[in-house]
């Protein structure tokens, strides 16, 4: 099992094996973070119903973006969503509802340290794969469960995705222009938030097992993960009155994104304290009225925030965003021209730190991906393999890890229990 694991540095979690049942984003992102840190990650999908982030066998689910807009012969292996959060994973298929598939999965559990899943709570039990069953096979197993609303409570069995968890969490009510309606983030933001919590849950459970020898069933409610990100708002007295925040901040003013000259050009500016404000009034001398004594304190500026924002916007509109960024940065202000994703990927800072990773995907070609977070210096994580094709490593993993010979493997493929791509009777 050396392919993809031949980095010269030792990887921090290379002793960890994970049976990964997660799908879509939140769970898959959690396990990708763990895989980046070296765990041997085995993504288990259904032969007939692949990870929804593959967009369907024919691209019929309408989700994916394909390289160059071309779905190719196997669109499910070229979908950007699935390929973005499943790197460093082996990919196998198993029909967990079949006797043979179920038994093979339990054998995989026997050789795993962690099982990860993000189904609604009833699913794992219905498959006969609840924590108690897993523990019987592997007493010190760690099970990560990431249901939308947790394992208990009135909503426990309700399905959810980032697009519904975000409004339920309060985030959407705060996201939006000050005078506009609430909105959802442009990227199903609760998913990676929950994913990061999921990865943390796994390493905490590993640390605990190292100390005690005990496995654990850890739970991350995707909904609660998103709510917890709003902790700072729960400290304000007028919590019930909060609405769309624009880019305002509870502890800084002015604090916003202001228009600059040119098409869709903007500058972000945060005046972090009263001393900075004093300096800003001396730098932005052509903005009238900023030196008023009423504005010397955060409280005073907060009261007049709308007026201050208008004055600053009038001023920034006369300037080129990059030039303004350079001059404000030079004066020590937290300011930046607002970048597009394409520009962010070309960022000189991240380039200087070799952050982005380029890796060849057989059905895509060379692709540029986000790098590994966090950076450990003695045992850094790495990007070693692209996301697997659907069931790409079924033969390899079943042979090398589970001891399945060629003849048996052929029978399992013929029965639709494992294999690559759509089963022969799929329509």
């Amino acid at each position: 099992m050396n392919d993809g694991h031949d980095s010269p540095s030792r990887l921090p979690l290379e002793h960890v094996v994970v049976a990964d049942l997660t799908q879509a984003w939140a769970g898959s992102y959690a396990t990708q973070l763990i895989a980046d840190l070296g765990a041997m990650m085995i993504k288990v999908e259904s032969r007939a119903r692949p990870d929804p982030w593959r967009g369907g066998f024919r691209g019929e689910r309408g989700l994916p973006v394909y390289p160059g807009g071309d779905p190719g012969e196997r669109p499910y292996n070229r979908a950007f969503l699935a390929n973005s959060v499943n790197r460093n994973k082996y990919g196998i298929t198993l029909d967990l509802s079949s006797t043979e598939g179920h038994a093979l999965f339990l054998e995989l559990v026997r050789q795993s340290d962690v099982v990860a899943e993000n189904f609604t709570p009833r699913v794992l039990g219905n498959l006969g794969l609840g924590f108690d069953e897993l523990k019987r096979i592997r007493p010190d197993i760690i099970l990560l469960s990431m249901p939308a609303y947790g394992l208990s409570g009135p909503y426990r069995d309700f399905p959810g995705i980032g697009g519904t968890v975000e409004p339920m969490s309060g985030n959407s009510s705060l996201l939006g222009a000050m005078d506009g309606p609430p909105q959802v983030s442009g990227m199903m933001y609760p998913d990676p938030v929950a994913g990061l919590h999921g990865a943390l849950a796994v390493v905490a459970a590993l640390a605990h097992r190292d100390r005690t020898g005990d496995g654990t069933h850890v739970e991350v409610s995707q909904h609660e993960a998103m709510v917890s990100m709003l902790g700072e708002f729960f400290g304000v007295p007028d919590l019930q009155e909060l609405g769309p925040m624009g880019n305002r901040d509870l502890s800084m003013s002015p604090h916003g994104i202001y228009p600059c000259s040119g098409d869709n050009e903007w500058i972000a500016l945060a005046i972090r304290d009263d001393v900075e404000w004093e300096r800003f009034t001396r730098v932005a001398v052509d903005i009238p009225g900023l030196s008023s004594s009423r504005l010397k304190s955060l409280e005073g500026r907060w009261k007049e925030r709308e007026h201050i924002d208008e004055l600053i916007a009038d001023w920034t509109q006369k300037h080129d965003a990059l030039e303004l960024e350079a001059s404000l940065q030079h004066e020590g202000f937290a300011a930046a021209r607002v970048r597009s994703m394409r520009e962010a990927v070309d960022c000189p800072q991240m380039s200087a730190r070799d952050y982005f990773e380029e890796i060849e995907q057989p059905e895509v070609g060379l692709q540029r991906m986000a790098g590994v977070v966090p950076r450990l210096h003695r045992t850094p994580g790495s990007v070693r393999m692209p996301a697997p094709g659907h069931g790409e490593h079924s033969r390899k993993i079943l042979a090398e890890l589970l001891g399945i010979g060629d003849a048996t493997f052929g029978e399992l493929v013929a029965a639709g229990i494992t294999g690559e791509g759509p089963p022969s009777d799929w329509e």
Binding site: S84, T164, Q349
Partner: protein, 368 residues
């Protein structure tokens, strides 16, 4: 019953007070039962209103020790404490280079088992490493604000300082991964987390979209699956065949079978405005709760748009004890609990955060 607050029992953490990034990182380690000692600046004049408002939430389960890092004796005490700690958490911009060097020396000692986590906005190297910054600036540079920008609107960060919280989470991931690796190798190490790299990592799909398509934008209208109803907004994911059929059955909505806008999942996904129009009368007659009750039990993916304050009384959150009352000046307030827990546990009650400037650390002997 084992509790979350026993997961990191025995782990000693020194946190050098910085901003939200390090505070939240250490808070997570404290939640899991690590003994977190927060070193506060004894020379600081006070804390702002917002720092005071978040103190109960950010510093629960910690002990504090005010030290003057300009004082040689205090500095020596800090290095002594760190030398016997398991984890050190600090922010690059909060301490001078000379102290960073001394702390690095502790990690670089032969056989050192210290796991050191440096948090920053841009990392310890590169042309921007000392650039003035903030949570908003990091968002703007990472592409996040433009992903959240709607057609004709303003680029937006996620509300609050969430980028710094994510950086704290990634810092905790570094710290605990270092502990797990140390169990195998008997060696500590240094780690670093850049806020910019963390945000770009959570934007992994958008980064790959740039690779496949040349650029990545978010939602053009900012609504996603949001639909307006009688008392606000709901989010309805009803484009898949099963959900579409169920919604029409539950609310008796007639659709012309020949209307291609609604014929397939792909078509429905591309025609959400038409679906909004079709369902407008039904939704305007119902509240968020009524819609949620109608559809969620049928396992249709849906949600109510709620304000943070409404969550405090939400029956699900109440049932799960998702909030905890913590003392603030003038009374108690409810804050969200950390969302990772051992399945089935009664959630542990946090220990009150130390007051600003109060030295609550009494375990010198134990640490030495």
């Amino acid at each position: 019953m084992r509790h979350s607050n026993s997961m990191l029992n025995g782990i000693r953490v020194v946190e050098l007070a910085g901003s939200l990034k390090s505070s939240y990182c250490a808070r997570i380690l404290a939640y899991w039962g690590a003994h977190v000692l927060r070193i506060e600046d004894a020379d600081a004049e006070g804390e702002s209103h917002s720092e005071a408002a978040t103190r109960p939430w950010l510093h629960a389960d910690k002990q504090s020790l005010p030290l003057s890092l300009a004082d040689r004796q205090d500095l020596s005490a800090l290095l002594d404490l760190t030398a016997v700690a398991d984890v050190l958490v600090y922010e690059r911009s909060s301490i001078p280079e000379s102290l960073r060097t001394s702390l690095r020396d502790l990690v670089d000692r032969d056989g050192s088992q210290l796991v050191s986590v440096e948090l920053s906005d841009f990392g310890s190297s590169g042309p921007w490493k000392d650039r003035p910054s903030s949570d908003l600036v990091v968002n703007a540079l990472a592409g996040m604000c433009k992903v959240n920008q709607i057609e004709g609107g303003i680029p937006l960060r996620e509300p609050g300082n969430q980028t710094y919280l994510l950086t704290g989470l990634a810092g905790a991931l570094a710290a605990i991964t270092g502990i797990v690796n140390r169990h195998q190798t008997k060696l500590g190490q240094s780690a670093e987390v850049s806020a910019l790299e963390t945000v770009v990592n959570i934007l992994s799909p958008q980064v790959l979209q740039v690779s496949y398509q040349g650029d990545a934008r978010g939602l053009s209208d900012g609504r996603g699956y949001l639909f307006e109803c009688r008392d606000g907004w709901v989010s309805l994911v009803i484009v898949a065949d099963r959900a579409w059929q169920l919604v029409r059955d539950i609310w008796t909505v007639d659709v012309d079978p020949a209307d291609e806008r609604f014929a397939t999942e792909k078509a429905r996904r591309q025609n959400l405005p038409a679906i909004r129009e079709l369902l407008r009368p039904v939704l305007q007659a119902r509240t968020r709760r009524e819609i949620f009750d109608d559809l969620a039990v049928a396992r249709i993916v849906c949600g109510m748009l709620m304000k943070p304050g409404e969550l405090l009384g939400d029956p699900h959150m109440v049932d799960r004890h998702a909030f905890v009352e913590l003392g603030v000046e003038g009374g108690m307030r409810s804050y969200p609990r950390f969302p990772v827990r051992i399945a089935g546990e009664d959630r542990p009650t946090p220990t009150q955060a130390p007051a600003f400037g109060a030295g609550t650390f009494t375990s010198w002997g134990e640490w030495k």
